[in-house]
C-alpha cells in the first residue's frame, strides 16, 4: 500500500493529530492527572513535529538537520520535569484530601 504523501508529511499529520487530541483533553477533562497526560500527548506531538522539521532540513542537502533533534532532547527533559512536578502536586493534594475525608468520616462504622 502506498501513501498519497511522503513520510515526513505523514509524521507531521500524526503530530498534529496528537496535539489535537491532547489539547482537547487538556481543556475538556476535569481530572488533573488526565490533564497532565494530555499535556504529555501534546508534547509528544510537538516533538514529532520537530522531527519532521529536522527531516525536511533547512540545511544544505544533509539527510537530517541535527539542531531540531538537540532541541527535542532538551524539550523532553523539560517536559519530564514539568510532569514530575505536576504529579507530585497531584499526589500531595490527594493525600491531603484523603486525610481530610478520614477526619470527616471517623464516626462512621
Amino acid at each position: 500500500m502506498t501513501f498519497p504523501f511522503d513520510t515526513a508529511t505523514l509524521y507531521g499529520l500524526v503530530g498534529a493529530l496528537l496535539i489535537g487530541i491532547g489539547l482537547f483533553g487538556l481543556i475538556v477533562d476535569p481530572k488533573p492527572i488526565r490533564k497532565i497526560l494530555a499535556f504529555n500527548l501534546i508534547g509528544a506531538g510537538v516533538f514529532l513535529f520537530f522531527g519532521v522539521v529536522a527531516k525536511r532540513g533547512a540545511g544544505a542537502g544533509f539527510g537530517g538537520d541535527p539542531i531540531p533533534q538537540a532541541l527535542v532532547i532538551t524539550g523532553i527533559v523539560v517536559a519530564f520535569s514539568a510532569t514530575a512536578l505536576a504529579v507530585t502536586l497531584v499526589q500531595r493534594l490527594s493525600q491531603e484530601e484523603a486525610a481530610a475525608s478520614d477526619a470527616d468520616g471517623k464516626d462512621r462504622p
Partner: protein, 512 residues
C-alpha cells in the same frame, strides 16, 4: 518556497560580556552553596548572593550606558545560528536592574521570616524559599538576556518551576490546588510556545532574534507561529481571559512570594511577547493582532478593576488589581506599532509601557508586602475589619497608599508618567478609545485603593489591638519600594534614549 539564508551573527562578544554570564550563574552558585552548607547558613548566603546580583545588574547597566551599544556574549565563542548569544539591550538592562532591586528587597523583607531557628530542628521550608527566590532571579535574568527563542523557552520553564512551588510553600490544600491550576495553565502555555518555535525554525533555520529580524517575511506560517507562541505566553502572563489562575495563586502565597510573583514573574513572559512582536515580527504588519491584544488588555483593565472592587480580602483585592494592571501593559501593542507618520507617538507609547511595567512592579511588591504586614499585625486581612488599622501600623498603610497612588496614576508617581505617556500617544495617534479605557481604569483603581485606605485611616469606634508585633525594618522595606514607584514619576517625560539602545534599525548594524 525559497528559504532565506540566515546571515552570521553581526557581532562578537563585547568587553563586558562576561557580566551577562555572571548575572545568570551567580544565583545558581548561591543555590549550590545553600544546599552544600546546610540550613544554618542559608539566609546569609542568599542575601549575600542577592547583593552580588544587584551589583552585577548595575555593572551591566553602566557598561551599556558607557558604550551605548548592546552588551553581547557568545556562549563558547560560537556565533548564531549555530551557537547561542546572550544579549543585553536597553530594555533588558532596565528589567535586570528592576528585578535585582525587587528581589533584593524581597530578601530583606523575608529575612527572619524564613530564617533559621536555632532552637528548632533543621527544616527544609526556609531553604526552599531562599532556593526558589535565587532560582527565580537566575531564570528571569536568563529571559531578559536570552537571544534565542528556544533558550527563552527553557528560561520561561525555569521561571514556572520556581514560581509554582513558591505558591504552595505553606503546604495548605487551597494553595496546592491554586499551584496545580497555575502549573496546568503554564504547561499549556509552554507546549504552545514550543510548537511556535518549531514552526519558526522550519521557516528560517534559526531561532536567534537578531538574525530572525533580518530574514523574516510576513508569511501566514510566521503569523500562525507567533500567534501560538503569544497565546501560550498570555496564559503565563495571565492576560484576561486566561487570568483565572492568578488571583488564587498570588493571594495564597506567603507575602514575600506574592510580591515576587506579582511584580516580576508575570513580567517575564510579557517580556518575551514584547520581543516577539517588536523584535521578531516585521514592522507594521500586525495591525490586526495588536488591536486584539490591546482589546484584551482593555477588558482586563475593566474586568480586573471591577472584581477587585468587590473583594472581601485584601490580598485578593491586590491580586485582582494585578490582573487589571497587566491589561495596561498590553495597550503598548496597538499604541507602539505606529508606522511612518505616527513614529514619535509610537516611541512615546513604548517608553510609557516600560514605565508602567516598572512602576507596577515596585508598587505591587510594596502593596503585597504591606498586606503581609497587615496580616501579621491583625491576624486577618478582611477589608471589613481594617477600621482604624492605620493607627497601629501607619508606615505599612503609607506604603500601601503610595503604591496605590501609582496604580491610580496620580501625579507625581511612576504610574502617572506611564499612563500620561500612553494617554498622549493614544490621543496623538487618533486611537481615542484607548485613552478612555486608561481614564476609566484609573478611576476604578482609585475606587479599590480608597476602599481600603479610607476605613483604615478612620477613627475606629472600638480600639483595635495588634495581634503581633510588626517589624519596623520590614515596614521600611515595603515603604522604600513604594517610594521608588513614586520616584519613577520624576524621570523626565520623554522617549528614553537608553531603551532605544540595540533596538530597531540599530540592532542590525552592531559592528562598527
Amino acid at each position: 518556497m525559497s528559504v532565506p539564508v540566515a546571515l552570521p551573527f553581526p557581532a562578537d562578544t563585547t568587553a563586558g560580556g562576561f557580566l551577562l554570564v555572571l548575572a545568570i550563574l551567580v544565583p545558581i552558585a548561591g543555590i549550590l552553596l545553600i544546599w552544600s552548607l546546610g540550613s544554618r547558613q542559608t539566609e546569609r548566603i542568599a542575601l549575600a548572593t542577592l547583593a552580588v546580583g544587584a551589583a552585577l545588574a548595575f555593572a551591566i547597566g553602566a557598561e551599556l550606558l558607557g558604550t551605548a551599544r548592546p552588551v553581547i556574549y557568545l556562549v563558547g565563542g560560537w556565533k548564531p545560528p549555530l551557537g547561542l548569544a546572550l544579549r543585553a539591550d536597553g530594555l533588558s538592562v532596565a528589567l535586570i536592574v528592576l528585578t535585582a532591586i525587587i528581589i533584593a528587597a524581597t530578601g530583606l523583607f523575608a529575612k527572619g521570616q524564613f530564617g533559621f531557628d536555632p532552637a528548632g530542628p533543621e527544616k527544609r521550608g526556609p531553604m526552599m524559599f531562599w532556593t526558589l527566590l535565587l532560582g527565580i532571579s537566575a531564570a528571569l535574568n536568563l529571559i531578559f538576556l536570552g537571544d534565542d527563542l528556544f533558550n527563552l523557552f527553557v528560561a520561561i520553564e525555569l521561571v514556572t518551576f520556581t514560581a509554582v512551588p513558591l505558591v504552595c510553600l505553606d503546604g495548605r490544600t487551597e494553595t496546592m490546588r491554586a499551584a496545580l491550576r497555575y502549573l496546568l495553565f503554564a504547561l499549556l502555555g509552554s507546549v504552545m510556545y514550543l510548537l511556535g518555535t518549531a514552526l519558526i525554525y522550519s521557516l528560517y533555520g534559526t531561532l536567534d532574534i537578531v538574525l530572525l529580524k533580518q530574514v523574516v517575511q510576513p508569511t501566514p506560517l510566521l503569523f500562525i507561529a507567533v500567534a501560538l507562541m503569544t497565546v501560550g505566553l498570555l496564559a503565563k502572563t495571565a492576560l484576561f481571559p486566561l487570568h483565572i489562575w492568578l488571583p488564587a495563586a498570588h493571594a495564597g502565597a506567603p507575602a514575600a512570594a506574592s510580591a515576587v510573583l506579582s511584580a516580576l514573574v508575570v513580567k517575564g513572559s510579557f517580556f518575551i511577547i514584547l520581543r516577539l512582536w517588536f523584535d521578531v515580527l516585521p514592522d507594521g504588519v500586525s495591525q490586526f493582532g495588536t488591536q486584539i491584544l490591546g482589546g484584551l488588555g482593555a477588558l482586563a483593565i475593566l474586568f480586573g478593576s471591577v472584581i477587585a472592587l468587590r473583594q472581601a480580602r485584601l490580598k485578593l483585592l491586590i491580586a485582582y488589581s494585578t490582573v487589571a494592571q497587566i491589561g495596561y501593559l498590553f495597550l503598548v501593542f496597538p499604541l507602539a506599532t505606529g508606522t511612518g507618520a505616527s513614529e514619535p507617538w509610537a516611541s512615546i507609547a513604548w517608553t510609557g509601557g516600560v514605565l508602567q511595567l516598572a512602576s507596577h512592579a515596585f508598587a505591587k511588591a510594596a502593596m503585597f508586602m504591606a498586606a503581609g504586614l497587615v496580616y501579621d499585625a491583625l491576624g486577618h486581612d478582611r477589608i471589613s475589619g481594617l477600621a482604624g488599622a492605620a493607627r497601629i501600623i501607619p508606615l505599612t498603610f503609607l506604603a500601601f497608599g503610595l503604591g496605590g497612588m501609582s496604580l491610580m496614576g496620580l501625579p507625581p508617581s511612576g504610574g502617572f508618567s506611564a499612563k500620561w505617556l500612553m494617554l498622549n500617544s493614544a490621543v496623538g495617534e487618533g486611537q481615542w478609545w484607548w485613552a478612555l479605557i486608561i481614564l476609566i481604569g484609573g478611576l476604578l483603581a482609585a475606587g479599590y485603593v480608597f476602599r481600603v485606605l479610607v476605613p483604615a485611616a478612620a477613627r475606629p469606634r472600638i480600639q483595635i489591638k495588634a495581634k503581633g508585633p510588626v517589624s519596623r525594618c520590614r515596614e521600611l522595606v515595603a515603604l522604600t519600594l513604594a517610594v521608588i514607584a513614586l520616584a519613577i514619576g520624576f524621570i523626565p517625560l520623554e522617549p528614553s534614549a537608553m531603551l532605544q539602545i540595540g533596538r530597531g534599525v540599530e540592532a542590525g548594524v552592531l559592528a562598527p
